[in-house]
């Protein structure tokens, strides 16, 4: 069973790396969509023993939201704010990928400091979730476009989701759904915000939003 | 004892103007003149008392109050000052403070009386007067503090009665230093050379005299007499310190003290004859010097 999970985790790592590497926002969104599908599969493999209704429901919702809805929403806003499609990072793509590797190593090291988690999950889970959180943060910090920030936030969320699903198998469904709902709301609200911003400033370059300071 | 104190006061009242005469005669002698009669000051007083007074229209009751209060203070001070081992008529612990502050009152009213005339000359004199006295006061009190520490007494009468040639044997230098600083104080407070020249007549250079330019008649008499008394009282402090003759017989002691006063007058005359007035800007240094000397005396005493 761990083999499957590890493959999934590997897929997540690779997608995150690609996300760092891509220069086109569209492809970034696609990478995130892929992550969404992988995450949707995760509960099934994690709670392997007997497919409970709740698990099915959870994975279904996950795929629906993270895999389908979010990307669509993002594409839509990207269309509305028709601006140049490049990511425009502060940090170059190659450097970003390097940072990705470093953060992977770092998170592995950091998680080595934690004790064995209860119901010992596969060893790679926690480091990967940390890694994705870091990648998400890095994207938020190092990209100029507002959409990139949303992407980064999504990656963070995904990372935490991995942690939640695999480590906290018996988290009540209601909480899971609430969390997903919140994530959705967040993305939606951010999207609307970007929409408004592009209307106000006719650009979505967060880097230029610095009139309020001090 | 009480009798002695009384005679002290009476003596002061009678003999104070004489000092002025002595001083003048000494100066005349040095200048090779015959000079005024010894009792000239008395004649002046008598004449002034008989004369009318002229008051400036600017002035108010403050101007008239000045001489009266001044003289009253001088007289009260005379009652405080001991001489020749005899106690002062009024004597209590720390009466020296009262003595110093009585002269303070005298100065205060002389100065405001001067300012009352609105004359810039008198303002000038007043300003100098307050400056110099502000510096002279610490010198006087420090010196007295030295004597107090030396004798362990707090009242003028007590501390001077406790002084004796023996004290000189014990701590002569201290007393000598105190004497020096007192001499400076006496000269400054009574506006004699080297601080002020009593018989200059250029308003710009005078201090005490210029303050009383506008006073005339009895008022001026009061002022003159008050000044003489001040000279006597402060001088008596100096004499008490410098020659504490204790023969045992009160009469002899008193006589010695009187002789001392006359010598002081002569000394003042001599100083006035063979010294020039120092520049006004130098006067503060002189007075600060006096303070330092008193302090030095105290250090000597403490070590």
């Amino acid at each position: 069973m761990n083999i499957v999970i590890d493959t999934a985790l590997l897929a997540l790592i690779v997608s995150s790396m690609l996300l760092l590497g891509f220069s086109q926002i569209r492809s970034c969104i696609r990478a995130v969509a892929v992550q969404g599908f992988v995450l949707g599969a995760l509960p099934l493999v994690a709670h392997g023993s007997g497919l409970v209704v709740s698990t099915l429901l959870l994975s279904a919702v996950t795929v629906a939201l993270k895999g389908v809805v979010f990307p669509r929403v993002l594409f839509r806003f990207l269309r509305e704010a028709d601006v140049r499609r490049e990511v425009e990072p502060f940090v170059g793509h190659a450097a970003s990928v390097l940072v990705g590797f470093l953060s992977l190593a770092g998170s592995v090291w950091m998680c080595s400091r934690f004790p064995v988690f209860p119901g010992n999950p596969p060893p790679l889970v926690v480091p990967v979730s940390f890694f994705m959180v870091f990648v998400g943060l890095f994207i938020i910090v190092s990209r100029k476009k507002a959409v990139s920030q949303i992407l980064g936030y999504l990656v963070m969320e995904n990372g935490m989701y991995v942690f939640g699903v695999v480590v906290l198998r018996d988290m009540p469904l209601l909480v899971d759904l609430g969390v997903l709902l919140d994530a959705f709301a967040a993305v939606f609200v951010m999207g609307v915000a970007v929409h408004h911003i592009t209307r106000e400033f006719d650009h979505m370059d967060v880097d230029q939003l610095d009139t309020l300071k001090g | 004892m009480m009798f002695l104190s009384l005679t002290n006061v009476v003596l002061a009242l009678l003999a104070a103007p004489l000092l002025l005469g002595v001083i003048n005669r000494t100066k005349a002698f040095f200048a090779g003149r015959r000079g005024q009669p010894l009792l000239q000051a008395y004649y002046d007083l008598a004449k002034l008392l008989r004369k009318d007074a002229v008051y400036s229209r600017t002035t108010t009751w403050v101007f008239r109050a000045g001489p009266v209060v001044g003289l009253a203070c001088a007289l009260t001070a005379a009652a405080l000052a001991p001489l020749g081992g005899a106690r002062g008529l009024i004597s209590f612990p720390c009466d020296l403070i009262l003595l110093a502050y009585l002269f303070g009152v005298m100065r205060f009213f002389t100065v405001v009386a001067a300012l009352d005339t609105g004359s810039s000359f008198e303002g000038m004199g007043a300003s100098r007067e307050v400056q110099f006295s502000a510096l002279a006061e610490p010198a006087l009190l420090l010196g007295l503090a030295v004597v107090a520490r030396l004798t362990g007494e707090l009242s003028l009468s007590g501390m001077f009665a406790a002084l004796s040639p023996a004290a000189y044997a014990a701590s002569g230098p201290v007393l000598a230093l105190v004497g020096v600083s007192f001499l400076v104080v006496v000269l400054a407070e009574n506006s004699r050379i080297p601080v002020d020249d009593p018989n200059t007549h250029l308003e710009l250079t005078m201090i005490h005299e210029v303050m009383v330019l506008d006073h005339s008649g009895p008022d001026f008499a009061f002022i003159l007499y008050g000044a003489a008394l001040k000279l006597w009282v402060l001088g008596s402090l100096l004499v008490n310190v410098v020659l504490p003759v204790r023969t045992g017989s009160a009469a002899l002691d008193l006589a010695a003290a009187l002789a001392g006063m006359l010598c002081l007058a002569v000394l003042v005359g001599v100083i006035e004859s063979c010294m020039a007035r120092v520049r006004l800007l130098r006067v503060p240094q002189l007075l600060v010097g006096a303070v330092v000397v008193s302090g030095l005396a105290f250090v000597l005493l403490l070590r």
Partner: protein
């Protein structure tokens, strides 16, 4: 009705009437009536028990179970020490209220009397409080209400600046007090008796720290150098009756607090007294020097408050030295002198500020060199001011002399005492007092002479109006008090004994014994004063007999100059110039001078300005530097959201690295 209830009633009346006057603000007349009436009534109610305590020497206390949180209860008490401060407080409070009603006249605001009554009430609460929380609340209320009074004339930018300076200074001072009281309260409850127990058990180093805190905190309110900078700004800015109250008694609450709190800290270390003495001499001498250099009447008076606080501090210093070295006589005399000077300064400084207010009110300016000859136009005010001037110079036979004499006595006792430290202290003390006395005389001959004597220097001064009776009577009352305390000093002295005993934490007998040393001299001084009075009477009679009415009027001797003009009179600046030149290194007077050129010189000007030594050379640079340093932080927040997220991430990383093991 027991005395405490009277006092409480007074407090309540003050607060209620203040509130009522604020609410009645629509009709100015009623607002004033309510405010002043309440102030007078409350002060009288407070005065009665205070006097009773002084005479009876008993101390009372009351605890109202209504808890200010963390305090033990709303606890008030009245002991001789409090009473010594309460008496002048209530007296001055009432007189200044009566004066103020006429002084403000139309200029009154709807909250003027609310703040005034609050100020009086809070001051009373400060000296009555027996619980740290109550004390601090009252203390802060006092600061706040006086702040509102300082900014009463908020039209003037100068008043606003003064208020700002005052509030900052007093708050920084309070910070030290908060720390001190917090440390004390933490060792028990907040009641003063508990604080005393806690303080007695303090380790020496901590006690030292607390002493320093108390010195700084209370010294800021009292106006010790170098914490006095707010004082010469705030007192001139406030309305004169408020300046009188602040200068007369509010700054004394600092002295009260110091004496009260040092009482908590166990046996005084020897150097405390020395420290206080040094502070006192510095404040005294520098205060009077800066006063000399001023040419605004109220500023001059404000600096004299610093000087007199210095004299009080000298007395306290000698007192604590005496305590530390086991010389009860020195201690008792020092404390008695300090306490009496507190009362006296309240009386004559109040009088002088009221006089200054009358001048301001009558001639429309307090600028010394624009006044002159007011004695002819304002005889009552002038006479009262003269009395105040003589008193503040410490000249016999008025009250100022008595308190200074007590301190001198203590100093001389120290000089002849066995312990070398006390000898040196006593010597420096009396040298300082002597210098201060001389300079003060110079300063007040200048003030009185230039303002009230000679010829008016401007039309304003020539057209000056005498103040109305409502303003003259309070001054007259205070002037009489100056005389009375001086004349009846032998009777006043024993009243101080219980208070001194409180400070010395010993039996009243010890204090009385110590004060006995002063009894004889004071009696003699009164005798000498009587002689003086008789002589003055006799001499004036003599002169009258000699002259009768035969006095001719003429012009002042003008040295033959043809056209003398009032502007040729000696001005305040020129009068003080020799002394200010002498101390120029300290005063750093700035001069703008356009010297006359050529044979027929055109316009020439000469102006001097002496701003405060510490304000300019210590505080202003300090604040500038702090501001610059803080502004430097702003680069951290340049508005980049990415950067902000980065901060969060870094914080998290750091925590994960360092806090999880």
């Amino acid at each position: 009705m027991n005395p405490m209830q009277l006092t409480l009633a007074g407090l309540v009346i003050l607060m209620l009437s203040g509130g009522a006057s604020a609410l009645a603000g629509r009709s100015a007349a009623w607002s004033a009536r309510l405010g002043v009436g309440g102030a007078v009534a409350g002060c009288i109610l407070g005065l009665i028990p205070a006097v009773g305590t002084l005479v009876g020497g008993l101390s009372l206390s009351v605890r109202i179970p209504w808890p200010p949180p963390a305090g033990r209860g709303f606890e008030l008490g009245l002991d001789p020490l409090s009473a010594v401060f309460l008496v002048p407080m209530t007296l001055l409070g009432a007189l200044c209220a009566v004066y103020g009603a006429a002084y403000l006249g139309k200029g009154a605001r709807r909250t003027s009397w609310f703040h005034y009554n609050t100020l009086v009430a809070s001051m009373m609460a400060v000296v009555l409080a027996r619980d740290a929380v109550v004390f601090l609340i009252a203390w802060e209320t006092m600061a706040l209400s006086s702040f509102f009074l300082v900014i009463h004339d908020h039209g003037k930018a100068q008043a606003r600046r003064a208020a700002w300076l005052y509030m900052v200074a007093t708050h920084l001072g309070t910070a030290f007090l908060l720390a001190m009281f917090a440390i004390l309260c933490a060792r028990g409850s907040a009641g003063f008796d508990a604080l005393a127990r806690a303080g007695a058990a303090l380790p020496a180093p901590l006690a030292t720290v607390l002493f320093v805190f108390a010195l700084v905190g209370f010294g800021t309110k009292a106006g010790f150098m170098p914490f006095h900078v707010w004082l010469p700004e705030a007192h001139p800015a406030a309305p004169s009756h408020v300046s009188a109250l602040m200068s007369g008694i509010m700054i004394k609450t600092g002295i009260y607090g110091l004496m009260r709190v040092l009482g908590f800290l166990g046996a005084p270390a020897p150097w405390w007294g020395g420290c206080l003495l040094a502070v006192g001499v510095t404040s005294g001498v520098l205060g009077v020097l800066f006063a000399l250099a001023q040419h605004d009447l109220k500023r001059l008076l404000a600096y004299h408050s610093v000087e007199n606080i210095g004299i009080i501090a000298i007395g306290l210093g000698l007192g604590y030295l005496g305590l530390a070295h086991g010389l009860p006589a020195v201690a008792a005399l020092g404390f008695a002198g300090a306490l009496l000077h507190v009362v006296n300064h309240a009386v004559f400084k109040g009088l002088l500020f009221l006089g200054a207010g009358a001048v301001l009110h009558g001639a429309g300016t307090g600028e010394l060199d624009r006044l002159g000859g007011l004695l002819k136009r304002m005889p009552g005010t002038g006479a009262a001011f003269l009395v105040g001037a003589v008193a503040i110079c410490g000249l016999p036979p008025l009250n100022g002399f008595v308190s200074e004499f007590l301190i001198y006595l203590s100093a001389f006792r120290g000089v002849v005492s066995p312990s070398a430290a006390v000898v040196v202290a006593g010597l420096s003390g009396l040298a300082g007092l002597a210098l201060i006395g001389g300079l003060a005389a110079a300063c007040f001959t200048k003030a009185f002479g230039v303002v009230f004597l000679g010829e008016p220097r401007t039309e304003q001064a020539a057209a000056a109006q005498e103040a109305g009776p409502a303003m003259r009577w309070p001054m007259a009352a205070l002037a009489c008090l100056c005389g009375a305390i001086g004349i009846f000093s032998p009777a006043v002295l024993p009243l101080l004994a219980p208070a001194v005993a409180v400070v010395m934490k010993g039996a009243p007998e010890a204090a009385t014994a110590g004060l006995a040393a002063a009894a004889t001299p004071l009696t003699w001084i009164v005798a000498a004063a009587a002689v003086l009075a008789l002589l003055v009477a006799a001499l004036s009679a003599l002169r009258f007999r000699l002259l009768g009415a035969r006095a001719r009027q003429a012009v002042t001797w003008d040295c033959g100059y043809a056209a003398p003009a009032p502007r040729m009179q000696y001005t305040a600046s020129s009068f003080a110039q020799p002394l200010t030149d002498l101390f120029a290194p300290l005063l750093r007077t700035r001069r703008e001078h356009v010297p006359p050129k050529g044979i027929f010189p055109a316009g020439t000007t000469f102006a001097t300005e002496t701003d405060d030594l510490f304000q300019r050379n210590l505080y202003a640079p300090l604040f500038r530097m702090t501001g610059a340093a803080l502004a430097w932080f702003r680069w951290a927040q340049q508005g980049r959201v990415q950067l902000y997220v980065l901060y969060i991430a870094l914080t998290l990383l750091a925590l994960l690295l360092f806090c999880v093991e």
